[in-house]
């Protein structure tokens, strides 16, 4: 195990380099905090400025004309940022203008948010006619070019102060929040805790504020920061056009005066540039806050950025070393899985999802891989297919088809083997077909990636495949949303046999279907297997179904194989205590027995105990089980088990060690 040991040590190192936002509150998002800091700083400039600088200098005639800033030639120390063509001091103007620009934005966005929350929650919660009206109104209002209407309004209504401006801007600030709150309420309404609150008699307002609001908070905050910057942009736009309040200083007004006085042509950079810089800093601040909040609200984005970091870390690991003595497996094996280790490099440590899994699938047989949820059976399937998703990674082992190790293949070599030799019937047939392309194209895709055939032949082949799984020919032109769950799953089966692969991995192929359809799909799988003589790995947790379908069964517990046996002997004479437990828990109509349910996993997958993996749930646990890991050993004819109970020498093993 020297190799495995080293690899896992190296891999755990980068996991410690994780930043703030993993073990602390998600609000400690770097972008959000940076943005908030920038906005606060700008606000502070406007609020504290008047204490240090005489803002009366912001008015006409307060100083000499067109003086450059102090660091330029001709600049005056009493006007550090220079003066413009009316003799107004630039620093004083900026100090007065900044807070008023911010105020308009905050006010308009908060009013808009208030309206939006009221309308959105009514639409989402009350629904019906109200929802229809509010949704239609906000959908169409959101497409009206706001500034056009604002400009027209502003040309009639003399806006005297920033509050009037904010009120008018708020006219266009409500549709966004309304749409957001509505969709959030609709989603949250279906969550069980909200339903529970409803059943327990909480009032609509209570549910809204206690159950829903906290869950929408990041979304609302992102919408608010986005709204503030949109409102500042609208206000500044009006001011730049000279349609804002002209008596109150504002950043847009300074730009307007600069451009109408040809400051650009005259080279008076210090006139037009500083307000633009301040505005840009404000917008960058709000923008950072918004995307930070987006990451807080949408964990997938956060996860993606972090798995990229993880992948970089995992990418530095040495590549998996091929196992040389690979011929140890059986001669007639179609697929060999050899000492497979898959680890997930999560922020909280390295999760061992598959720990030295060994098995082979013989030609023409169905091997069942069973175990409770989370035991690693799907991880093994993904590892065989070479699609372990980051932060997961195969750290050791080999997956062989016809003496080619898939783990060591990549790029074009791997693509060639995929589907031609190794196909998949996926777990979630509901979502495994591309929703926007017809079945024809999805099946053609798989065939054309590996074979070069003409159109007519391709069409005939697809029709034959559909026929093979008992689907009518018209399915070829249908879209996934037009098919039922069972039909989709049969399309997936048809697709999997398109290239006559050596091995098909069927990942819980029937789990999402109702019982009758389950039978049809299982029957289809069996027929296909009989006709083509294909080998199959059938993953599932339904022992009853497995008993009817598979030839041999492999039982997995906490990332380890604990028993591999022909299905008859596994059911007649299960050796491992965990297999016994699984078989006992199959419900039976003939006798009512108490459900023998014990608690699920009892150890931490990041830190498996020494000794047997099942020790905490096992009735027969002995001293050696706590100290040494049992190997998978053949105890009966073709019946392998990893359990000390069947090792006659187990007592002497411990004693000899102590001696």
């Amino acid at each position: 195990m020297a190799v495995g040991q080293r690899t896992s040590d190296d891999a755990s190192a980068p996991a410690q380099g994780w930043g703030l936002n993993t073990w602390d509150s998600p609000w400690l998002n770097f972008k959000f905090l940076l943005g908030a800091g920038i906005v606060l700083l700008i606000l502070l400039f406007g609020l504290v400025g008047p204490l240090f600088w005489d803002t009366d200098l912001a008015y006409t005639g307060a100083g000499p004309l067109n003086k450059p800033p102090v660091w330029d030639e001709g600049g005056l120390p009493e006007h550090p940022l220079g003066t413009e063509s009316n003799g107004r001091d630039m620093l004083a103007q900026l100090i007065l203008a900044t807070p008023s620009s911010l105020k308009v934005g905050f006010l308009a966005a908060i009013i808009g948010m208030g309206i939006g929350m009221a309308l959105g929650s009514v639409a989402g919660y009350v629904g019906g006619w109200w929802d229809h009206v509010i949704r239609t109104l906000s959908d169409s209002a959101v497409t009206i070019p706001a500034l056009v209407v604002l400009v027209v309004i502003a040309s009639y209504v003399q806006m005297t102060d920033t509050t009037a401006m904010a009120l008018i801007l708020a006219l266009f600030a409500w549709p966004g929040p309304t749409r957001l709150v509505r969709s959030q309420v609709l989603t949250l309404r279906e969550r069980s805790y909200v339903r529970m609150a409803h059943l327990s008699g909480a009032s609509a307002l209570e549910i809204m504020f206690v159950e829903m609001l906290p869950n929408m908070l990041p979304w609302l905050a992102a919408s608010l920061t986005g709204g503030i910057s949109a409102a500042i942009l609208g206000a500044t736009g009006l001011e730049v056009l000279g349609l804002g309040p002209t008596r109150v200083p504002s950043l847009g007004l300074i730009i307007n005066q600069a451009t109408t006085n040809a400051a650009l042509v005259r080279g008076l950079v210090w006139w037009w540039l500083p307000p633009i810089i301040i505005l840009m800093v404000i917008f960058v601040g709000f923008f950072l806050m918004t995307i930070g909040l987006d990451e807080i609200a949408n964990p997938r984005i956060r996860q993606f950025s972090s798995t990229r970091r993880e992948r970089t870390a995992a990418g530095e690991l040495p590549p998996v070393e091929p196992i040389e003595d690979g011929t140890a497996g059986e001669e007639e094996a179609a697929l060999e899985v050899d000492d497979l280790h898959v680890h997930y490099f999560t922020p909280r440590g390295e999760v061992i999802a598959a720990n030295g899994v060994n098995f082979s699938v013989r030609k023409g047989e169905i091997l069942g891989l069973v175990g409770e949820s989370g035991c690693g059976k799907t991880t093994v399937a993904m590892a065989i297919l070479q699609v372990v998703q980051p932060p997961g990674r195969i750290v050791q082992g080999a997956v062989r088809i016809e003496d080619r190790d898939l783990v060591s293949l990549s790029g074009r070599d791997l693509r060639q083997v995929r589907w031609r030799d190794l196909a998949l019937v996926p777990q979630g047939a509901m979502n495994s077909l591309n929703p926007v392309t017809p079945i024809r194209e999805q099946m053609a895709d798989a065939i054309l990636a590996h074979e070069n055939i003409g159109r007519a032949e391709l069409e005939q082949r697809i029709l034959n495949l559909l026929n093979d799984v008992g689907l009518p020919e018209r399915v070829i032109d249908m879209f996934p949303h037009e098919l039922s769950g069972g039909m989709k799953q049969r399309v997936c089966i048809a697709m999997s046999i398109a290239l006559n692969p050596q091995v098909i991995i069927a990942d819980e192929p029937t789990s999402a279907l109702d019982v009758v359809v389950q039978r049809v799909v299982a029957q289809t799988l069996l027929e296909v297997k009989e006709r083509l003589g294909v080998s199959m790995v059938m993953i599932g947790h339904d022992m009853g179904l497995q008993a009817q379908l598979v030839d041999r069964i492999a039982v997995m517990y906490a990332g380890n194989l604990v028993e591999v046996a022909p299905v008859e002997s596994a059911f007649a004479e299960p050796l491992h205590p965990y297999t016994q437990l699984l078989i006992e828990s199959i419900p039976s109509i003939r006798e009512r027995k108490p459900l023998n349910v014990t608690e699920g996993l009892t150890h931490d997958l990041r830190d498996p105990p020494p000794g047997c993996i099942f020790q905490f749930r096992c009735k027969h646990v002995e001293r050696i089980c706590r100290e040494r890991r049992p190997e998978l050993v053949e105890r009966d004819d073709d019946h392998l088990v990893a359990c000390w109970l069947y090792e006659p020498e187990r007592h002497s093993l411990i004693e000899s060690e102590e001696a």
């Binding site: 070019p145 309004i153 209504v157 990636a449 879209f479």
Partner: protein
């Protein structure tokens, strides 16, 4: 079942009418809700400018009669709608014998050209960048470079435009700063004119594209990340398809659907922003004309342009809506099911 259904088209068309009605009504109602009325306001401003106007009261009364502002508000409203429908807004006040509509229609091609080019460029570049950013298989060097294209995302178009004018037009003198073409070329389908016209369009287009593509990119990145986790995306990998095919047919093809919705919803904002860009670059499109109409207090032209912009925006959204069922087969299906 697929493509357009009568019901879907009808529903979208009603939305189209509603949007136009809402926008035009806002333009009609808000000025009348405000204290005072547009005419008194205008005359008041005139007298502020010139000091004093003789017979201001008579002037106000006659202008009110001229615009029908003395009629009851509902009569005004119906007349207003009659005008909007016939695209008849009367004569321009500042260029009297010219009709408001003819002034507007002269400006429209410039804006349409500028905005179409800018929107298509910014959307397609943004979507490409975002898709690559959200794809697990994007080469690492590309992943490092791509975020730099977001640098100008937070900056409003027109501010970026001012800086571009200053740097590229005045300091470096590479491109013309303002206008749609120089006086020295003859407008028409000749090469010098087209070259001249294009050189004038570069800076406005660049300032819109560079500042708006980041928004599309960020949105697309999030959508692409979601698609990355879909079962069909995984199955496409297992099928042994080439990365390019997975990326386009399974990734982008699905992720772009909400982005197109966002485009339809964002058109209004884009057009709003372009008004300021036209103002900054003195580009003779509708936005610039709107500004000029407002500073010359040309009441009729202002109305005409505002309504036209609302109409054009709503039409583009409507066309995008009609396109959508062809890209997403599920849209009309759901509706016919219920």
């Amino acid at each position: 079942m697929r493509g357009l259904t009568k019901e879907y088209v009808l529903q979208r068309f009603l939305m189209y009418l509603l949007t136009i009605w809402l926008g035009s009504t806002l333009i009609f109602v808000i000025p009348r809700l405000a204290p005072g009325d547009p005419v008194s306001e205008m005359v008041g401003r005139l007298s502020l400018d010139s000091g004093y106007i003789e017979n201001a009261d008579k002037l106000i009364a006659s202008w009110k009669a001229r615009f029908g502002l003395d009629a009851p508000i509902h009569v005004q409203y119906f007349r207003y709608w009659g005008n909007v429908f016939r695209l008849n807004f009367g004569y321009s006040l500042s260029h009297f014998p010219t009709e408001a509509w003819s002034m507007v229609s002269r400006a429209l091609p410039w804006s349409l050209g500028l905005l179409t080019v800018a929107t298509v460029l910014s959307f397609s570049i943004g979507v490409t960048v975002g898709s690559l950013m959200g794809w697990r298989r994007t080469p690492r060097w590309l992943q490092m470079i791509l975020p730099s294209s977001l640098a100008f995302t937070a900056i409003p178009y027109f501010m970026f435009g001012i800086m571009l004018i200053y740097l590229v037009a005045f300091e470096l003198d590479w491109l013309p700063a303002t206008g749609a073409y120089s006086r020295r070329v003859d407008p028409g389908w000749n090469l010098p004119f087209i070259k001249n016209m294009l050189s004038h369009a570069i800076l406005p287009v660049v300032s819109i594209v560079l500042t708006s593509m980041g928004g599309w990119a960020l949105g697309m990145r999030g959508l692409m990340i979601s698609v990355n986790n879909e079962d069909y995306f995984l199955l496409a990998q297992v099928k042994g398809l080439s990365p390019a095919r997975i990326f386009f047919r399974y990734g982008v093809r699905n992720a772009i659907l909400p982005a197109l919705t966002a485009l339809a919803l964002g058109l209004g904002g884009l057009i709003s922003g372009s008004i300021l860009v036209e103002f900054i670059f003195a580009y003779p499109g509708t936005g610039y004309s709107l500004y000029q109409a407002i500073i010359s207090q040309d009441y009729t032209v202002t109305q005409a342009i505002a309504n036209l912009i609302i109409l054009v925006t709503a039409t583009s959204v409507f066309l995008l809506d009609l396109l959508y069922p062809f890209i997403d087969p599920r849209i009309t299906y759901k509706r016919t099911m219920r």
